[in-house]
């Protein structure tokens, strides 16, 4: 049985969570399922490479990102339609010059003709969808995150090389320092480190 490490910490530091180290994919995967089945919600798995189905093992819900993308697309479509309608087809009564549209008659086409404007609607839809996806992805991932207490741990550096980690947050309802520590050892952890910040 490996030992628990309690790192040197400042006086005001608080316990953030417990970090358990695993040797290989199989053991971390099995342990993740146990953590999920024990009812933990606030925990994360760190690995040097993507592990297939780890999302299922962690019990993660399907992402909300598609809905965000759909909303972004619809907003973009509305924006594009309003833009071309405002700039080509109308002149608000008594509006200042800077707010008047450009009612140019081009090659005999109607002032507001859909075929000419579909590329614009299409492009704004795509643009806003792309924005929604990128920004939504950042938001759902809590990015950008410039600081994470885990970075202070020397042991955690091997998460990008050859070790696998499960970190259970201290603010999880199920969290109890000693019990959770024992639970993680039982689940097959090689070593456990307290994370203070």
């Amino acid at each position: 049985m490996s030992s628990t490490v309690t790192p040197v910490k400042e006086e005001s530091a608080q316990l953030i969570g417990l970090m358990a180290e695993f040797e290989d994919v199989t053991s971390v995967f099995a342990a993740t399922e146990k953590v999920r089945d024990a009812g933990f919600k606030n925990f994360d798995v760190h690995a040097p490479f993507p592990i297939h189905h780890i999302d299922r093992a962690m019990g993660m819900k399907p992402t909300k990102l598609p809905w965000i993308a759909l909303c972004g697309g619809l907003i973009g479509l509305t924006f594009g339609a309003s833009l071309v309608y405002f700039s080509n087809a109308i002149t608000p009564e008594g509006a200042p010059v800077s707010l008047q549209g450009y009612q140019f008659l081009i090659s005999g086409k109607p002032l507001f003709s859909l075929p000419a404007n579909i590329p614009i609607l299409f492009e704004t839809t795509i643009l806003f969808t792309a924005f929604a996806i990128v920004l939504g992805m950042l938001r759902l991932n809590n990015l950008p995150m410039h600081y994470n207490p885990l970075f202070k741990s020397d042991r955690f550096r091997r998460a990008t090389q050859d070790k696998f980690f499960i970190v259970i947050d201290a603010d999880d309802d199920q969290f109890d320092k000693d019990k959770t520590q024992q639970f993680l050892f039982d689940a097959g952890a090689e070593a456990i480190e307290e994370v203070w910040d």
Binding site: H52, S107, G108, K109, P115, P119
Partner: protein, 516 residues
């Protein structure tokens, strides 16, 4: 991790575990083909008007449909090799078989080739000998305001401007000289010839008060589109659109496609036997030049097959437009083939919902691609508004202006909503793509829509006086052509395994999973 096909998997249609088993039961396909041929030919010979013209157009629609299946499959085979697609090998064999079936498509091409050689110009107006050329401008006086051309053998061709829609324009022009009004029955559908003099020289004109089209009287006395007689405008494309060169290049096309498709099938079967990854490497290496060859030959084939129905009209996007529909029909067909095979107990464990999901994603993507290309083509024609290009669209019902619509508008609206909006929204969700029933529905739907698309491209050439016509001739030719294609494909399929047996990417494809 699966690395091999389950030994209990039923992979052979013939029910035997080794290649070279007896053929699958395809007697019913022969019956469908015969009945289809009879159902198409009998009404075509008995109908009033030009039955040969109608039959050839219906046949061309059906041919374009099965040609799509073969060429789309060829595209699927080389593009998955080109991308080294790990998910694809398990669904590649039916595509290889449909692509190799291009030899049957070549036989199905014979009626079209014969119609071109015979020189009557009914299917392709340019497919006439030079002697049919509409000749010099004649004295128009005795024909009122219509323009009259005389061809090399002295036949007169009258060009008149008519309002295209019944009940539109008559009153306005009641006082005008009704040139050619009593000739050839062009007014049967309420069409009304009127003043042609004010509209320059002849080839199509859009008047400011509604849609008007030029019609000409051909040698048989029928009123047809100007492009349906051999005129100077068509003759400018004579180096390309000539009978001998058409036959020559199509022989070349079929030789190239058949060689490529059989090369893929033969090598894929060799991988089945040996598992040699060097063969797969070779296929992948040569897929890049084959993609180039495919793109060029397919574009010119599309120009020949359907764009040259109207030799006045041209669109450089046309090849891509047909290609988009082609790929849609292929993915739909692959989905249905595997659903059908699995329903009959074949390849039950190898092909999973993940493969359907991927085929569904590609189907969805190409639904949008079709729209993208179709709209791009339309927008350029609409913006430039050149008479010879706009006429093509206008007669196909593409106009939202009151009084400019005709009977074909319902077909293009059906395409807009049925070929794009409905499947686009329907296939958007991953749950639909992962549900076999929903995916089967959309696959059938897209095949019907692909037929409608081909119908919309081809059938308006029936003539200026006709709206959409659909009947036994269309159904019969389609049944015949599809059944003959099916016979060829089934013969090939029953000789070989329905899925690849060994492949360097076997583990990839058997364990394939979609994250999203």
């Amino acid at each position: 991790m699966k690395t091999h096909i389950d030994p209990n998997e039923k992979c052979f249609l013939s029910g035997e575990s080794a290649p070279g088993g007896r053929g699958a039961k395809d007697l019913w396909l022969y019956i469908v083909a015969l009945v289809g041929a009879a159902v198409a030919v009998i009404p075509a010979t008995m109908m009033e008007g030009d039955g040969v013209h109608r039959f050839l157009l219906a046949y061309l629609i059906a041919f374009a449909f099965v040609f799509s299946l073969s060429m789309g499959s060829l595209f699927f085979v080389f593009i998955t090799h080109l991308c080294r697609a790990g998910w694809a090998p398990i669904v590649r064999r039916p595509a290889e078989i449909m692509a190799a079936n291009i030899r049957v498509v070549a036989i199905l091409f014979l009626p079209i080739a014969i119609s071109v050689i015979s020189g009557h110009g009914k299917l392709y107006p340019w497919a006439q000998p030079d002697s049919a050329l509409v000749g010099a401008h004649a004295d128009a006086a005795e024909h009122g305001d219509a323009e009259v051309y005389v061809d090399a053998v002295g036949r007169e061709t009258v060009i008149a401007l008519v309002a295209a829609e019944a009940g539109h324009g008559e009153d306005e022009h009641a006082g005008h000289d009704h040139a050619g009004h009593d000739a050839g029955g062009h007014d049967e559908a309420g069409h009304d010839a009127h003043d042609a003099a004010g509209h320059g020289d002849g080839h199509g004109a859009v008047a400011d008060h509604g849609l008007e089209i030029h019609v000409v009287q051909n040698a048989a006395g029928d009123w047809v589109f100007p492009h349906q007689v051999l005129d100077d405008f068509t003759m400018k494309k004579r180096p390309w659109l000539s009978q001998g060169w058409f036959i020559g290049r199509w022989i070349f096309f079929f030789v190239v496609w058949t060689s490529i498709a059989w090369w893929y099938l033969r090598n894929s079967l060799a991988v089945d036997r040996t598992g040699d990854y060097l063969i797969t490497q070779k296929l992948e290496k040569w897929s890049a030049p084959i993609a180039l060859i495919f793109a060029l030959t397919f574009t010119f084939a599309a120009f020949d097959l359907m764009m040259s129905l109207n030799p006045h009209w041209y669109s450089t996007m046309f090849g891509v437009y047909y290609f988009a529909g082609t790929v849609i029909s292929t993915f739909a067909a692959l989905i249905l083939i595997f659903l059908g095979l699995q329903a009959c107990g074949f390849v039950k464990t190898s092909v999973t919902v993940e493969h359907y999901h991927d085929l569904g994603k590609l189907l969805f993507a190409f639904v949008f691609f079709w729209t993208y290309v179709g709209f791009s083509q339309y927008m350029l024609l609409w913006y430039a508004s050149l008479p010879e290009t706009v006429m093509w669209l206008q007669h196909r019902g593409v106009s939202m202006v009151d009084g400019q619509t005709n009977g074909w508008a319902c077909i293009i609206l059906l395409l807009l909503f049925g070929h794009f909006m409905f499947p686009f929204l329907g296939l958007l969700s991953r749950h639909v793509k992962r549900s076999r029933k929903a995916l089967a529905f959309f696959a059938i739907w897209m095949l019907v829509m692909h037929y409608t698309d081909m119908y919309w491209l081809v059938m308006p050439e029936i003539g200026p006086n006709s709206g959409p016509v659909f009947g036994l001739i269309e159904i019969g030719t389609f049944a015949f052509v599809l059944a003959v294609f099916g016979i060829g494909a089934l013969r090939l399929a029953s000789k070989h395994s329905l899925v690849v047996q060994r492949d360097p990417r076997m583990a990839d494809t058997l364990n394939h999973e979609n994250l999203y």
